[in-house]
Subunit: 155 residues, 2 copies
DNA sequence: TATTGTTATACTCTATAACTATA
DNA sequence: TATAGTTATAGAGTATAACAATA
């Protein structure tokens, strides 16, 4: 790993300075990607802010769970996920059923109304991204997805 | 473009549903990347929040400019960049000099103090990313940088 | 009158800390 | 006593709209 990280993409061994630049560039790109995220957030329905959409998405992908696990998957503080969950529960998009094994916990479960919201979100995202990435090959989109997933798991 | 966007990466023609999934996956990944950004934001100096760091970075990359151009490059509303600029100017990291050609504008210019802050930021980012991405090849980091840059320009 | 910037206000996300209920 | 979750509070980012100054 150390040896590899000392090689440039297209050439021979490089300096520590060039190494730093590569990582600094990644930091810059991640900062800049905020604009893309803001653009996507703007297309959400008015009563479904990004945090609420994230709750629905995680429950759809990983199935029913307790708040502690949702918190872990969202990588935020539990106070944050708790508020987002309250938001989606108040709108009837998830059900909260007391955990039979531990009365302190409730099982969070996506319901049909939540699935409908999720379908609407997916549709809007798809329309927006299809338009923006019209000149991307599917392979490139997949490559970006793969690298982003790997980046997340590296943290 | 349309023909291409109807092919899967590793197989034959696919359905509209699978197409949507690819874009929805990208939306999910972009949402999830927020956790990485929060991690990186945590390593910033206390008096240099992400918005301030972004101002310094853009001025370093693109040279002196007026607020209107900075706003464009940061892809935010001018009210936002104006506040960030005030923040870094109050700390003496940039100079604001009246534009000779238009008294409404001021030229924003990174000064030595700002460059010192920027060097510190770069150092912290590099340390954090070197640790987190220890098992990444330089080629993969470069590939991610390239795709992220392309994503930004597609919006 | 149009443009550049600033500021007031409001909303969302986030974390820390104090608190409640249950194990 | 320890853990799951809630809520109060505060800080940061952002956008809209009203405003000031200059072109």
């Amino acid at each position: 790993m150390v040896a590899l990280s000392n090689k440039m993409g297209g050439g021979p061994v490089t300096t520590q300075t060039a190494q730093s630049t590569r990582y600094e560039e990644l930091a810059r790109q991640l900062t800049g990607i905020g604009a893309v995220k803001r653009d996507l957030a703007r297309i959400l329905p008015a009563d479904c802010p990004p945090g609420a959409a994230a709750v629905l998405t995680v429950l759809d992908r990983h199935g029913e769970m307790r708040l502690s696990r949702l918190t872990e998957l969202m990588a935020v503080d539990m106070s944050v996920s708790s508020r987002h969950v309250t938001h989606v529960a108040e709108r009837g998009w998830i059900d909260r059923e007391t955990d039979p094994g531990d009365a302190r916990c409730r099982i969070l479960r996506l319901n049909p109304a939540g699935r409908a919201v999720l379908a609407e979100l997916g549709s809007r995202y798809t329309v927006a991204l299809e338009r923006a990435l019209a000149d991307w090959s599917p392979e490139d989109v997949d490559a970006l997805n793969t690298l982003l997933a790997r980046l997340r798991s590296s943290f």
